[in-house]
């Protein structure tokens, strides 16, 4: 059963660093598994936790939030805000039966195309190991 499971991953990425890194990974033809789909945000600081929860409840098996490295935020400190929000979300999710590993925050700078591809592939593999979001059907009810 589990070997047939193909996870669906949503990635909320900031326009200035990780989205640019994703472009670079593409331009450099770095192969990624097709399970990840990007949502372009201007900054990880605008990723409302409800976007993450909504994604998990609507069919995503994992959510990646990725922005500029600490200190490099295009908007001064948006990524620190994201860090706090994701950290809190990671604390809360298990109480609802959702594994904390399903939500991950990473920093991928604009020049790190290889890092982006590796992050995406690793995350997909980890979620594949974790299996599908079992709580989804319950949660939707």
């Amino acid at each position: 059963m589990s070997h047939e499971f193909e996870p669906t991953i949503l990635a909320f990425v900031c326009n200035w660093c990780t989205f640019t890194a994703a472009d670079l990974a593409g331009t450099s033809r770095m192969v990624q598994q097709p399970n990840v789909r990007l949502v372009r945000m201007m900054c990880t600081g605008m990723v409302d936790p409800k976007y993450i929860v909504k994604s998990l409840l609507s069919g995503a098996d994992g959510v990646l939030v990725s922005g500029c490295h600490p200190g490099d935020c295009h908007y001064i400190n948006g990524n620190y805000k994201a860090r706090r929000r994701v950290k809190l979300l990671n604390e809360i999710l298990p109480q609802f039966g959702i594994e904390r590993d399903r939500v991950r925050l990473t920093w991928v700078g604009a020049s790190e195309g290889n890092e982006f591809a590796a992050t995406v592939n690793n995350f997909i593999n980890e979620i594949r190991e974790l299996g599908p979001m079992e709580t989804r059907s319950m949660a939707v009810v």
Partner: protein, 675 residues
Amino acid sequence: MANRIGVYVCHCGSNIAGKVDCPDVARYAEGLRNVVVSRDYQFMCSDPGQEMIIKDIKEYGLNRVVVASCSPRLHEKTFQQACARGGLNPYLMQHCCIREHCSWTTEDPVEATAKAKRIVEAAVERVAEHQELFSREVEVLPDVMVVGAGIAGIQAALDIAKSGHKVHLVEKSPSIGGHMAQFDKTFPTLDCAACISTPKMVAVSQEPNINLMTWAEVEDVSGFVGNYTVTVKRKPRYVNEAVCTGCGACLEKCPTKALSEFNEGLGFRKAIYRNSPQAVPNTPVIDGTICKKITKDKCGICQKICPTGAIDYEQKERHEVFHVGSIVLATGYDAMDPTPLREYGFGKYDEVYTALQFERLNNAVGPTEGRIVMKNGEKPEAVAIIHCVGSRDKNYHEYCSRTCCMYALKYDHLIKDKVGHDARVYNFYIDMRCFGKGYEEFFKRVQEEGVTFIRGRPAEIVEEDGKLVVVGEDTLLGMNVRVPVDMVILCTAMEARKDVTEVARIFGVAQGQDGFFLEEHPKLGPVSTATDGVFLAGACQGPKDIPDAVSHASGGAAQALALAARGKVDISPTTSWINPDVCVGCKVCIDLCAYSAIEFDERRQVSVINEAMCKGCGSCAGYCPSGAAQIKHFRETQIFDEIDGLLGMMPVVPQPETEGGAALITEEIQPGETA
């Protein structure tokens, strides 16, 4: 009117079509909600491709457009403009990427096509919630403020002033010139630093378009691109600049002494002082912390002897407000204090100098009148120059300070020249980095002068029999060395100013990991910052030598002038908007905003965005507990629908054109409503 969406799938030659079955994606899109026309075309960004969109907007009455092609970072503007030409508001277009994020990174064509369908579906869902947005034009005030009057600030100010624009030049020390004024010679040409910088300093003081304010600091900056309001603190000089002739009689008689900052602590200055005889302006300044008249109400000699009556002990701090269109930051660098590197014995041994101290030893108006002598007045027989002190060192600064190799070579030459050819000079280096015009040639020349180069960072400096012994390893020979010398010069790192964080906060610019101000883009935006209308010049952005600092400053001046010359600037409409009907006035967003763009309206008890200052980062929207704060073009409904589309949550049911689809909801947020 129901939404009428046109979908355009680009082949990009074989870049997309090689993996993604574009006609299949277009057919799939046809069945999505509110899609009235869906096409695939070889090159959507080409003229015929854009014409196709423009024609369809008119023919099919499209009110939404989706383009699936390359990354929006590449061609979003192109298609926005095409829509605008077709009479459609550019923000009613959604550009989605099926090339960089799909065809180029996915191996299997079936998977790539499936992914492309999801991406297009998400765009179709999202675009239904798009709104008309209008960018706003604001006027740019013609004056420019330059902060810091080192060589970079001087250059920027002169460039701007020459164009006829007024420049307010703020310098925190009593005289302009910055670090360059402390130097004796400059590499690799061995020009006398004062000979090339003093004319520029004088030009600044004589330029009618430059309002020079020394002994002043910027205290507060508010406003936004084109319309900054800057408050400058004028510290009390206790000398009336308008009356003082700079005769210097007061400097002679003042009985109070302190270590001279300009001479890097190697000599003394009086309580009333100026940096050097070439100081601009040449008006002295009284150090209020040590002047006996000011601290204890005794003395007052300078006032008694001043022939013009310029001394005024009653001067108070003043605050002046300026309205400028843009700001050039040229706040420069600090030379690192090598005291923490205890192995080198700075502060412990008398004959260990920093590079800037050695510059002062060389300078004709320095503490030794330009003679390279030890504290006992004798010439050194052997000198060690240690490179990379604090630079390229994980414990202090990882970066290379760019200038040290070259000024070390300059010292090599100066020692040989001034002390005599028999003086032995040892360079302890890691790499020699002589990358500039004429730099490598200068390296060769110094090598031929008989200077010794030892590759390896020394371990420590010890004192033995009255000599300093540099202990280290020659990594080329692979053996330990102990070199007895009389004098050691530490080539200390260039580092960000001590108060850089405070300055960054005042001007709203970011700092990089090394503390220096962060440029907008490391390659293509080296002088602009993420804050529109604030530009960088010189070493405040990172270590630079004089030619680099000067050209960087001219670049910053050009950017500021481009704004001033155009006289107006477009403000992006993708800013935040706080719905006053929903806002509960909790004020959380106000503290979250890194740009101070949110104010509280006491009368209505709601938070209000200043659109001109808002950068659209969404920090407020990401938190707002009531959901009142929303970023235009990244609203909650838009993101939610995009998520649904990406996850295939929307039922794919072809619907009759007359049914379904939300009506245009542009009324909800009226552009300019909060303005």
